[in-house]
C-alpha cells in the first residue's frame, strides 16, 4: 500500500507503510528511526479511558511538511514521514508515528526528535481526554510556527 509521507489518519497507524514511503526517499539510508507516541493509561492522576483526537487536516498536513523542511535545513540528508491519528484512540495504541531516515544515525535521531517536538508545538491537532469521571480538552502550546524561541527549544531537545 502506498501512503503519503504526511497524513492525518482515522484508524490504526501502519508503521510499515510509512516506513516504506520514507525509506525510498533516501538514496542510501544507513539509519532509520521510528517514533511512536502511545496513549498512556494515566494522566495527572486521572485514569484515562481513551483519547479522541481532532485535527484541521489540510493545515496539519502542511505543518508536517513544514516541519520536514525545517529539519532538512538542519540535517540536509534526512527525510521524514509523519502520520497522526484522529478519532478515538485506545490506551496502548499509537496516536502518532514518525519515521526519520538518513544516511547517518545522528541525523536520523535528531530529525525524529525535532519532529515530535515541533508537532507538539505547531500541528493543529487537539486531544480530548476521556477519563474515569469526565472529559477534558488538553490545551498545550499556542501554535506559532514562526516563533524562533520555540524552534530553538525543539533544536535543543533534539540535541542539535
Amino acid at each position: 500500500m502506498r501512503v503519503p509521507p504526511f497524513a492525518i489518519v482515522s484508524g490504526p497507524l501502519s508503521l510499515d507503510a510509512l516506513h516504506a514511503a520514507v525509506a525510498t526517499l533516501v538514496d542510501t539510508p544507513g539509519a532509520i528511526v521510528h517514533f511512536l507516541g502511545v496513549v498512556r493509561g494515566k494522566n495527572l492522576g486521572r485514569v484515562v479511558r481513551f483519547l479522541e483526537y481532532e485535527a484541521y487536516e489540510p493545515l496539519a498536513v502542511k505543518a508536517f511538511a513544514r516541519i520536514e523542511a525545517e529539519a532538512r535545513e538542519l540535517w540536509t540528508d534526512a527525510r521524514l514521514g509523519i502520520h497522526h491519528r484522529v478519532g478515538r484512540v485506545a490506551v496502548g495504541e499509537a496516536s502518532i508515528a514518525i519515521v526519520a531516515a538518513s544516511p547517518h544515525r545522528a541525523d536520523a535521531y535528531a530529525a525524529s526528535r525535532y519532529a515530535i517536538e515541533r508537532v507538539k508545538q505547531i500541528a493543529p491537532i487537539w486531544k480530548h481526554e476521556h477519563f474515569e469521571g469526565g472529559e477534558v480538552w488538553i490545551e498545550g502550546a499556542s501554535a506559532r510556527p514562526e516563533d524562533e524561541d520555540a524552534r530553538a527549544e525543539a533544536r535543543r531537545r533534539a540535541c542539535a
Binding site: K120, P124, W126, W137, S142, A143
Partner: protein
C-alpha cells in the same frame, strides 16, 4: 462579504458548530472577525491571547485581511502528539 469560519476543539464546542458562515465587513481582519465571534460567544473571550488563526488552511497573523469566500480558522492551543 461572507467568510466560512472553522472552529476546533473547545471553540467548536462553545459555538456548537464546526463551521459558521458569517457576514463580515469588506476590510475585515482576522482580529476583527475574532472579536465579532467573541461578542457572539462570550465564552470564547478567554482564548483571545492564546489562539492561532489560519486563512484558507495557511497560518496567518491576526492582522491579516481576508477576502470574500475565504475559509478562516481559529485554533485553540494545540495538543497533538
Amino acid at each position: 462579504m461572507r467568510v466560512m469560519v472553522r472552529l476546533f476543539a473547545r471553540l467548536r464546542e462553545i459555538a456548537g458548530a464546526a463551521e459558521l458562515e458569517r457576514e463580515v465587513p469588506n476590510d475585515a481582519t482576522l482580529a476583527g472577525i475574532w472579536e465579532q465571534l467573541a461578542a457572539e460567544f462570550p465564552a470564547m473571550a478567554p482564548y483571545r491571547e492564546s489562539i492561532s488563526a489560519a486563512v484558507n488552511a495557511d497560518y496567518a497573523r491576526m492582522s491579516a485581511r481576508v477576502s470574500d469566500g475565504d475559509e478562516v480558522a481559529f485554533l485553540p492551543p494545540v495538543s497533538g502528539g
